[in-house]
Symmetry: C2
Subunit: 492 residues, 2 copies
């Protein structure tokens, strides 16, 4: 039975009790990247925020259908008053077929997300994979009177729309202000009104991406793909729509308008937005070299930071800030996160190595302390996924673990079990953290561990076990040699 979860809904601008449309199931749509290039660390923050939210919903027993799209067409960019498709623009620059560019950056994207231990979404649809679905919706919007065709392009008609529906609620745009704004329309004078947006964009005969329609050759506008794909895979109204804060306007506002124009329904009940990431207090910038690729931090090849940081340190750093707050990435912050992550790792690995044999059967003096902290961590997550607070409750338990490991504090069997289960659940399942052993030489670590096991077996006069460790190692070509300095090993 899932616990009550409060979520901050960007649409109502308040925390609300989360209630899914179908009990036990959640439909989650998150706007993914436009893959004409590599994504930056700010985009990664959005994805890892929703990875954590997805994992928490799963941990509460929800069956989640998580849809995150890849934009491979339609993300228009304004150049000298003309809208161009970003993927096509970059494909032309690189002299490759657009889908070749997209394939390359999709491979990079997936690789990077594996490094950061993000779960795969259940469906990862693409804009080019849903041209027909987009056209079906565009035709319906035209039929409903909320879009118009001009020279082979189709535009959303803001003036017609606001006669029947609200516009601007999510982003807090005041529609009267918007209507009174006048703007030069430059080359875009096909539009009746500057804020009308493209649903379908006519292209010339030399366009790299083009589909044949009754409007003539063209390609989709950006916003319509998300409406088409979320509707197809999650229904006209679904539970949670997520994305980066920068997508609130115009992208998400356009999605809401499109859905209302198409079927009269608002697409999502809860809108969640991950906040922005800045670098040293500033917006990331390509020209300043602060538009950092997530792998550069690990490789230590940014122009901004002095040393490399592990992916899990970066993930830990992000978890230390609430997803809906801005996060400033600095060397100092990374160093502090590294220290915190290493402290956590040490305690967690120590906890995992604790044997129940050394524990007490008697009731524990620490039971309440442990239960309270673990419960509070979960409740913090139930309060709009407050991972920062949840982490702080886990950190409260670290001194206890360290005392048990190093200072002879005896915990009860049930304490150790509760700590192991609770930490694993929170750290690995929900936070998606992984904990590599500090030394990279796994083979020697494993053999040292076996030598230690063998010593203990001999001390317990369990010679069957100690001999079997030595003999088994020999069969795989590892020789143990007992000497004055202890046991040494070599590869035969």
């Amino acid at each position: 039975m899932p616990k009550n979860i409060l979520v901050y809904n960007s649409l109502s601008k308040q925390k609300e009790l989360f209630k899914s449309l179908v009990p036990g199931k959640v439909g989650l749509y998150v706007c993914g990247p436009t893959l004409y290039g590599d994504i930056h660390i700010g985009n990664l923050r959005t994805i890892l925020s929703f990875d954590m939210i997805y994992r928490f919903l799963l941990s509460q027993g929800y069956e989640v259908r998580y849809v995150r799209n890849i934009t491979d067409a339609g993300h228009l960019v304004d150049e000298n008053g003309q809208e161009h498709d970003r993927v096509s623009v970059h494909a032309k620059l690189n002299n490759v077929e657009p889908m070749e560019l997209v394939k390359k950056y999709t491979v990079n994207f997936h690789h990077m997300l594996r490094v950061y231990n993000a779960l795969e979404p259940n469906i990862e649809p693409t804009a080019t994979g849903h041209i027909m679905e987009q056209l079906d919706i565009i035709r319906t919007i035209i039929k409903n009177g909320y879009a118009y065709e001009k020279n082979g392009s189709v535009y959303f008609d803001i003036h017609a729309f606001i006669k029947d529906h609200p516009y601007g609620t999510l982003s807090g745009r005041n529609i009267d202000d918007l209507l009174q704004e006048t703007r030069e329309l430059d080359g875009q004078d096909e539009k009746k009104f500057f804020a009308d947006f493209s649903l379908w964009k006519s292209v010339g005969p030399d366009a790299l991406q083009s589909w044949n329609t009754e409007f003539g050759p063209g390609g989709p506008g950006w916003h319509i793909e998300c409406t088409a794909m979320s509707t197809k895979y999650l229904g006209q109204t679904f539970d949670i729509h997520g994305g980066g804060m920068d997508l609130k306007f115009p992208h998400h506002e356009a999605e809401i308008a499109q859905s209302l124009a198409f079927c009269g329904k608002s697409p999502a009940n809860y809108w969640l937005h991950a906040n922005m990431l800045t670098v040293n207090g500033d917006k990331m910038s390509r020209s300043k070299g602060t538009s950092i690729h997530p792998l550069e931090i690990i490789q230590g090849t940014t122009n901004v930071f002095e040393k490399p940081y592990e992916a899990m340190v970066v993930r830990f750093l992000m978890l230390q800030t609430h997803y809906a707050s801005t996060l400033d990435l600095t060397e100092k912050g990374l160093q502090a996160a590294e220290k915190g992550y290493l402290r956590l790792r040490e305690a967690y690995l120590a906890l995992l190595s604790m044997s129940l044999d050394d524990s007490s059967d008697s009731p524990s003096a620490h039971q309440t302390e442990i239960e309270e902290a673990l419960k509070n961590a979960e409740l913090a997550m139930c309060d709009d996924f407050n991972s920062a607070k949840a982490l702080s409750y886990l950190f409260e338990l670290i001194p206890l673990i360290n005392k048990a490991k190093h200072e002879g504090l005896v915990l009860s069997k049930s304490d150790i079990e509760a700590l192991k289960v609770g930490f694993k659940w929170m750290l690995e399942d929900i936070f998606g953290l992984t904990f590599e052993a500090p030394q990279s030489d796994s083979l020697s670590k494993v053999i040292e561990m076996l030598i230690e096991m063998r010593h203990r077996a001999r001390a317990d006069k369990n010679f069957a076990l100690s001999d079997s460790i030595r003999d088994n190692l020999k069969t795989v070509g590892i020789l143990l040699k007992d000497g004055k300095q202890g046991t040494e090993w070599s590869i035969a």
Copy 2:
């Protein structure tokens, strides 16, 4: 400057000198898998064969655009005289959305190919991503008089087609025999002739995959996707079309007919077919448990083989047989390949460890021997990608390397350089083999041994021991995961 390459063209049934349409560039299309499930080791052989061919073309300086599709709709299967979409059938069985199924198996597929070190294609298009392109071609074929619509489905009209074009050349089907064949049409009596094939298939309102068209709701037939995608990314006629031998008829024959019917051109100049893989002399069979997943061989969880074999051993085994010959997978063959691969690895690692300091500056007695063998290996590859023969030339040099390593034979600087460059080029770049240092072998052996110890401990109900093995391994960063296929391990 690329060398002359001879390829066996399945269309002309002879070896031909390869000449690309545009000098220095190659368009390569290979039929990929239908991802309603995991692929088997036979499918992998096809992919690794073309991976080797792709790598060899790159090594000759060609700029190759390699397109390999994923079929996520349209692969029809006949059930009681009715054609159904395989992806939809399996999605219904698993009670998931078709694209959820496809995503899951696409992730598996890519993971498996990384393990086997296959290069990514430049473009990996999907059938659902090209519905409009397929419809455009279908409309043109109807207009050209080679297809007819019946009850919302569109069929290719063999009788109309053969009035103007040849049919059956690739697969060697005799068209007169075909025409005289009579067959019960069962539920398929929409077709005028039993060998007419579906271009577009009407579906009912409860279909899991459906697109709206002027023919009514439906989905594509299988063959048309490859025509649409190869035309879009490589042009109406391109250089090389590859696939498994089992696709010759009807799939590839249909592709040729569709292209001729659509634009009057034959799609590919060279048709290359990777031959079948059998297991212990028989066709693979799900019911006999011989339909082996490529990862099962590595994990040692097949019902067929006694022990696990490394991915590179399997790759080596495949390279030892010409891609166009059948390959029978047996324990004996795998053992021999393992021995051969280990011998090669030992020599190659020895070669890489050779220092130029220990070499001689004087002219070498072995220069001709080395040059000849390396040249012959390359020429073998130029003769229809004869990797088996190329490998045998490299093996001729192994005694020389071993003598230099172990018996004090002094090679010249230029000999060592030539060997290093030649072996790396052939083994890593062209054959896609990787050579892990033997130490990590020891790690897996020790861990496999520990997994076995743990299984025995559990069988003996010695849970203290079995848990301590798991927990101790975790402290050194080795994670055990119990699953249906046994216990797997990974480095955290």
